[in-house]
């Protein structure tokens, strides 16, 4: 199986690569349309700031490429937020794959949320074999609101979309590449879709 990680200025590309290698898969890093389009699975990572990331994607025309993909695509962390309609982070128009607004946590608790929190109400083959209230690792200040595309919830300040799904697009706010065995299982499930 060919797995392509979209290569742009995302901070966790290396960690995602290692996580796939631990599962016996050697991913290809690429920002080339042909390579991305022809992959069996595409992973869209992300660590950083939304407007900078979107500008970077647009300059390379990767925004169109990502939206038009037909194979299973997996957005991770900022990748999930960029797949939404709009982010409050520097008032950024995003890819609009999910018709969801990305908001900043109200500072009732520490922001960013940093650490291990639970996945609940999981409702997708992405979470096959994963027990309710399993822990995954989060680092984020912005969250996707709940919607009918939500396939897992997490509570921090308020309930938010820990994961999303629409057609061939899947996304997780947590970092599966840093979430121990649970995270590895989620990546494995994505490869098995």
């Amino acid at each position: 199986m060919s797995v392509v990680i979209i290569n742009y200025n995302a901070g966790n590309v290396q960690s995602v690569t290692y996580a796939l290698q631990r599962l016996g898969v050697t991913p290809v890093l690429s920002d080339e349309e042909e390579v991305i389009r022809s992959a069996d699975r595409v992973i869209f990572p992300g660590v950083g700031e939304a407007s900078t990331a979107m500008r970077f994607l647009k300059e390379r025309r990767l925004d169109r490429v990502i939206k038009d993909l037909r194979q299973p695509v997996f957005g991770v962390c900022l990748g999930l937020q960029l797949m939404c309609r709009h982010s409050e982070e520097n008032d950024t128009d995003c890819l609009g794959i999910f018709d969801i607004e990305v908001k900043k946590f109200e500072p009732k608790l520490k922001v960013p949320q940093m650490g291990w929190n639970t996945l609940t109400q999981m409702n997708s083959p992405l979470f096959k074999g994963i027990a309710e209230e399993s822990y995954v690792y989060f680092v984020h200040s912005y969250y996707a609101e709940l919607s009918d595309q939500t396939i897992a919830n997490t509570d921090y300040v308020n309930s938010f979309s820990a994961a999303l799904h629409k057609d061939n697009f899947y996304a997780l706010q947590a970092h599966p590449e840093k979430s121990g065995k649970v995270g590895a299982k989620i990546i494995e499930n994505f490869l098995d879709l």
Partner: protein, 253 residues
């Protein structure tokens, strides 16, 4: 619910773990990668690698070590010790570190915090603060807590947050090595004042001390070295103990 984090700290010298560790079944107690894997397996929430290598040449081995750790370990880890530039940080993050920690270099040139936050994002910038009580004031120290600075700890903590630090690793040099508990009063004051997470460090001696620092100390995470390395407290036992005391803690099912 977001859980409190337990963070074993590994001291690294010339690419090897210092402070002999005797885990049953470890082939090589000095191998940081194997030790880190064991801690991850036991349920550690994060790891910190603190490089105490003296010479600049040998520091280059740190990047190789980070690469090996990142390939093997599936939990987040922070690397600190001797980091003083954007280039240093870039090399470590590219090798797979999740966060870096700066200490003396931030005191020497506070603008480094801003530069790193802008370049890599606040989430990967940990500022370590070594503090000691001097003449009724909390004073920031450098060089492993030996040298006092002119900075007072609480205003410095506020400043590093404003400059873009994503987390503070607060080590009380008064408590470090005493095994008499964490500096909960100071930790609580700083954690309550800031909106970024605070890691309590220095003084862990028993499991109750962790309960105290998560409640009275309002710490978001607690770091310890020797009690884990010398197996005085096992990570699984500690986490079960904390859970029984109603502290939110991650135990894998």
């Amino acid at each position: 619910m977001l859980t409190k984090r337990i963070i074993p700290c590994l001291d690294i010298k010339d690419g090897r773990t210092v402070k002999g560790v005797n885990f049953v079944g470890l082939r090589d107690a000095g191998d940081p990668v194997e030790l880190a894997a064991r801690y991850a397996e036991e349920g550690a929430d994060e790891l910190v690698f603190l490089d105490i290598t003296a010479t600049v040449e040998k520091r280059k081995t740190l990047v190789d070590l980070v690469r090996h750790v990142a390939a093997e370990i599936n939990i987040p880890f922070t690397v600190g010790g001797g980091i003083s530039s954007v280039e240093d940080v870039s090399a470590l993050l590219n090798a797979g570190a999740d966060k870096i920690s700066i200490n003396s270099s931030a005191v020497k040139r506070p603008g480094l915090i801003n530069e790193l936050a802008l370049e890599f994002g606040s989430q990967c910038v940990v500022v370590a603060i070594d503090t000691r009580h001097v003449h009724d004031e909390h004073i920031v120290h450098v060089r492993g807590g030996r040298t006092p600075t002119e900075l007072r700890t609480i205003p410095w903590a506020r400043e590093v947050e404003q400059r873009g630090a994503g987390e503070i690793l607060l080590t009380s040099m008064d408590h470090d090595g005493t095994k008499a508990g964490f500096a909960n009063e100071l930790t609580s004051e700083i954690s309550g004042m800031l909106s970024i997470p605070v890691i309590a460090s220095g003084g862990a001696g028993n499991m109750e001390h962790f309960v105290d620092t998560f409640t009275a100390g309002k710490a978001d995470a607690a770091l310890a070295a020797s009690i884990f390395h010398f197996k005085e407290i096992g990570v699984p036992d500690l986490k079960q103990f904390l859970k029984d005391k109603s502290i939110p803690i991650r135990i894998e099912q």
